[in-house]
Symmetry: C2
């Protein structure tokens, strides 16, 4: 096989391999559906969310970089699996994800793979404006799933409003006005009984 065809075959192998992300299941359900979301459709959803929300970012972001970051941000789950968001993000799991991303990128011709590991690491570190925004947006759809889906995963995992505020405060670092809006809706959700308040919990 000629060199370009060989390189393209490597990309096709990558395309087939990453398809496994369609079989990694998350903890929330898309609004209106009775099944859990998978990480591939989630990745599409956060990309479009970022595209439409970036005018409201706290700091100017390079939306094209952000979208690439979000397209690949969950690839590590293919080997490491998805983890529950209210469990701490362990170093072991992060390491397993990074190994997984490296394995997938190694399927590609090196000229094509170039830069994506660094982009994935930048997302994970969350230190740049682009990464901070991307990580803020990544948290939005699961909140919307609960807010518009009767608090399904909140109630299932006995989550309090304080836990949601803690885990999702990074939304405020990326898009303050969005966080302000969502906090109001969380107050309402608590009043509606979709979320348990810490207080009512400790008195049980």
């Amino acid at each position: 096989m000629s060199q370009p065809l060989h390189a393209i075959q490597q990309v096709l192998d990558f395309i087939v391999e990453i398809e496994k992300l369609k079989d990694v299941h998350r903890k929330t359900r898309p609004v209106g559906l009775e099944r859990f979301e998978n990480s591939a459709e989630h990745s599409w959803h956060v990309c479009l969310s970022a595209l439409m929300l970036h005018p409201y970012a706290d700091k100017p972001v390079n939306i094209d970089r952000v979208i690439k970051m979000l397209l690949i941000h969950d690839l590590g789950e293919i080997d490491a699996g998805d983890t529950i968001i209210y469990a701490s993000e362990t170093p072991e799991n992060k390491q397993a994800e990074e190994q997984g991303v490296k394995r997938l990128l190694a399927l590609l011709p090196s000229s094509v793979a170039e830069g994506y590991l660094a982009l994935w690491q930048e997302f994970e570190a969350g230190d740049s404006d682009d990464a901070r925004f991307a990580r803020a947006i990544d948290r939005v759809p699961p909140l919307l799933h609960n807010l518009n889906g009767d608090g399904h995963s909140w109630r299932k995992h006995d989550v309090s409003k304080e836990m949601v505020l803690r885990v999702n405060s990074r939304i405020g670092e990326g898009v303050p006005a969005l966080w302000q809006l969502l906090q109001r809706q969380l107050d309402q959700a608590e009043q509606d009984g979709l979320l348990r308040s810490e207080q009512s919990r400790s008195h049980e």
Copy 2:
């Protein structure tokens, strides 16, 4: 509600509404899975496919525009439904899709929605280099599903190699070397009996 919060709420409504694409089912199955693919996870998959294949495009493309095009290219299916690829793309269906895209974009603040209808139309028209490449890539994953999945949808719909060549020839317009490679694999698939040849069909 203040003006910015009102605008952000409009974007959130859009984000929840487009989630319905996760419930639009396609005609092929992801490799290794026993269920049909949905158009949301497909959209993610074609975006990453385009990202990794664009170095092999026939004409230079603006990959950032291509990715945005592919993120939104199937949104019309939410109202119109997915159509079988081997049925002709009727003007009625295309019109229903365009109406659907307009309905969704109308949920957004106009400053945010700006440009996306034109981008969707550009994809549909397929006349620009970016659109030609995007449309080529859109055809790749279903071929890979069949090539790596025992020709499942080909056999189910009694598809011949000639039909596959006809319907997918646009891959050659966007990425000639990729089409060259895939044609070889289609020859092999025909030999392996995953695809019917026209000849054997007409003699039945």
